[in-house]
Subunit: 519 residues, 2 copies
Amino acid sequence: MDDQREPRRRRAGGRAGTAAKRGTGRGQPPWRLVENLDRPTEPLTPEGVQAIHEGALHILSEIGIDFLNDEALALFRQAGQSVEGQTVRLDADFVTEMVAKAPSAFTITPRNPDREIRVGGTSLAFGNVSSPPSYWDHATWRKIPGSRALCADLLKLSQHFNCIHFIGGYPVEPVDLHPSLRHLDAISDKLVLTDKVIHAYSLGPERVEDAMEMVRLAGGLSEAEFEATPHMFTNINSTSPLKHDWPMIDGCLRLARRNQAIVVTPFTLAGAMAPVTIAGAVTLSVAEALSAIALFQYVRPGVACAMGTFTSNVDMKSGAPAFGTPEYMRATQMAGQMARFYGLPLRSSGSCTANVPDGQAMWETSNALWAAVQSGTNLVYHAAGWLEGGLVASPEKFVMDCEVIQMIQRYMEPALVAAGPEEIALDAIAEVGSTGHYFGVSHTRARYETAFYQPIVSDWRNFEAWAADGMHWTASRAHLRVQEILAEVPAPLIEDSARGALEDFVERRRAEGGAPTDF
Amino acid sequence: MDDQREPRRRRAGGRAGTAAKRGTGRGQPPWRLVENLDRPTEPLTPEGVQAIHEGALHILSEIGIDFLNDEALALFRQAGQSVEGQTVRLDADFVTEMVAKAPSAFTITPRNPDREIRVGGTSLAFGNVSSPPSYWDHATWRKIPGSRALCADLLKLSQHFNCIHFIGGYPVEPVDLHPSLRHLDAISDKLVLTDKVIHAYSLGPERVEDAMEMVRLAGGLSEAEFEATPHMFTNINSTSPLKHDWPMIDGCLRLARRNQAIVVTPFTLAGAMAPVTIAGAVTLSVAEALSAIALFQYVRPGVACAMGTFTSNVDMKSGAPAFGTPEYMRATQMAGQMARFYGLPLRSSGSCTANVPDGQAMWETSNALWAAVQSGTNLVYHAAGWLEGGLVASPEKFVMDCEVIQMIQRYMEPALVAAGPEEIALDAIAEVGSTGHYFGVSHTRARYETAFYQPIVSDWRNFEAWAADGMHWTASRAHLRVQEILAEVPAPLIEDSARGALEDFVERRRAEGGAPTDF
């Protein structure tokens, strides 16, 4: 049986262990950015796109949106927009003109330039789960608080898997670190344990400024080099309905002024913080995103901005949010149509409602990940490791999700769908005719090693071989795989000078007390 | 823990049990045929479609295909085609002309006319798993042989779920029934325990003729009524590469002469029975399907025929077949492009390689089911209950798959993607403004009961509520749901006269010894 109480036996591994070792490191596909070959799925008619666009502009010009940030209010006034108290009403022309200044694609370059990502067009990049307070401890079947050590393990998985292109927020909240100092240690861990693009939270001026400085130091960049092009990004959520909070806007303004990348992701749960209808929830989401992006483009024309979508539904019986639902999929596809309408890159998510890495978790996550693909999403946030609506991180789920992501990458390889004479292979078909098989023919021998996707945690053995090896269900195999990866994943190279500068900075800021926690 | 050894505790149910009862019967969406709203995903360029078409015709005209059926060989000779021994070479014009006679859409009408299905166009229908010899016994965690009783349970699930539109082959092989009599009892069970469209195996003249007669009697139809329009269907596989066996072709010819529906599904595993390249495997599959469909159209112009696709890859390490892979998804989408090119309805499958209803099973099955949607498939065979590459049937997996299928149905509801003024809901957005929430507003109250998909086995409660209820993973919840459904599902109505005629027929044929088993 799938006995979760036998870690020793599980660690023993047997053939599962061998298969696992085959899968790690060398076994996985190389780092590459994915080009999305497929035409997006577009549930909205052109009239529907126009109606949502006009609805969003109507919301911003007639109903108005609150910015709980005095600097933003002053900037809107300066731009000749209507400001009453904290409520801003924006001219349709102003919004359209400002949003048009945003680039349709941009790059973000981490300390290892080979890990630069492109955001926009057909580019499709995946990131780890971000910000769960808790962690699924598969060995004890308990939900435990996040810690710096657990966060580090998830960062190592994020570095290990080539299909993970960027590092979002903390993959689990290191609650054992004091809030005033947490960002220093956690961002330092991100910059040392990974060499990929990282995110910084917009949670007050000190944290944002510290994060930008740490990214600059880790990359060994001058001020000018840092500001020449995006080297990091932040992601903010509006407080739906129709509200932007102070620290989120403050952080974005600071990044905008230093030419770093900004993702604006309203969290519009249909039936709760947004209309119960999907088109209504998407319209509200678009309005909230456009208002912030217009502000950032006014402050720094051309600064890298992406539109985020996080529209799902609630269970109308309990009010609990649900993810990976049909409503979620369609909302994501609709948001993709709107992002293309505005010429903005799109961010969506992998997500699920399930509490453990089981069947429900994987059909919900598959729905979310494929909806991201179908929507033309450029940045897939929370793509690996998410459980319980984002409240729990799981390394087992991380590995299982990476299997799905790797299959999406393989699915997008042009060679897979090529149909030239070499692929149609009439000579091989004539050679085999109606007898024998294709294992031995030269056409097969020349291609079989790279012909098909090689799994990392899927078990393709027959029932008897699988049963003889201990009847490990997927989550148990993933648990074993996690232990193997963490035992062997090497830390990425970092220049001693850069590392030293980073350590000195953290030391100094720690001595200064880090960031105030009174907001 | 997810202890599979505590059936009593699981049966007790608790809140899971309550939730389960909410989900059964009344809770599920009503019977309806799904219209696929989405533009198909088309990996092949128009040139690629043309190249595969020309490749398939080249195979049939130059390489040839074997028909191990004298009647077929005589018919091809009569049609002026080249026949050497059992190898047939078909003129491109003959194939094109014959295939053009096939209808692009047709109906199949079971004994309950309300359960008629349309095959073709944007219609999307789902059927149960077919033909596994074994059964996953979740209570004991053993793989056990199929039986008439287990088959009947799966037929009851197939009848219960409105998202299952047709009954394929036996959902598990009733190996406790003697092969000579098996078809009589098993088809009788299909016709009594369900009122949906059924499939009959092409396994020799007696079985096929018995099946047609039983469908006719169960429907209370005259010979003329039976032959006026399709009331059942068969599905055949070619013996790839390039071979059609005697009983398959014999059965199809018998159905064709009585105007019943035929699905031709080559089973082309890339790298084994087909080229290692997906385009090559699809080309071989198309050639094999066209050759049989051309024959049936020659015999009865306009008879209902669908093209099937079952192209996947093997694990090149072990040679074992793999399903729900990226290669499988692209092959299915390519087959959809070819079916539309020929104006033929398409059949594909739900499938997976996993041995148990776990995470791998659900990402593989999700890949297969969404590929069916993306390919424009009309008939999704094996859509619910399949494990271990089709060697194992599982009622738990059946329920889990039905959740995914119901979500696909919900996903395809036009109302979900409507974007008129009522859906964009500017009045509600103005009413709520930047304060409060949408739970209470009239726009929500008027819609919330039907606004969102309601799950049957998904658990959307938070971790704590889920844990307090016994930490049941998806398969355990599905196991509980299966027991509840089987306890309450009513047998469909059947006319006493029809039932009596069916029983008399089975009695007579049993007395005659059923079908010979010496082929």
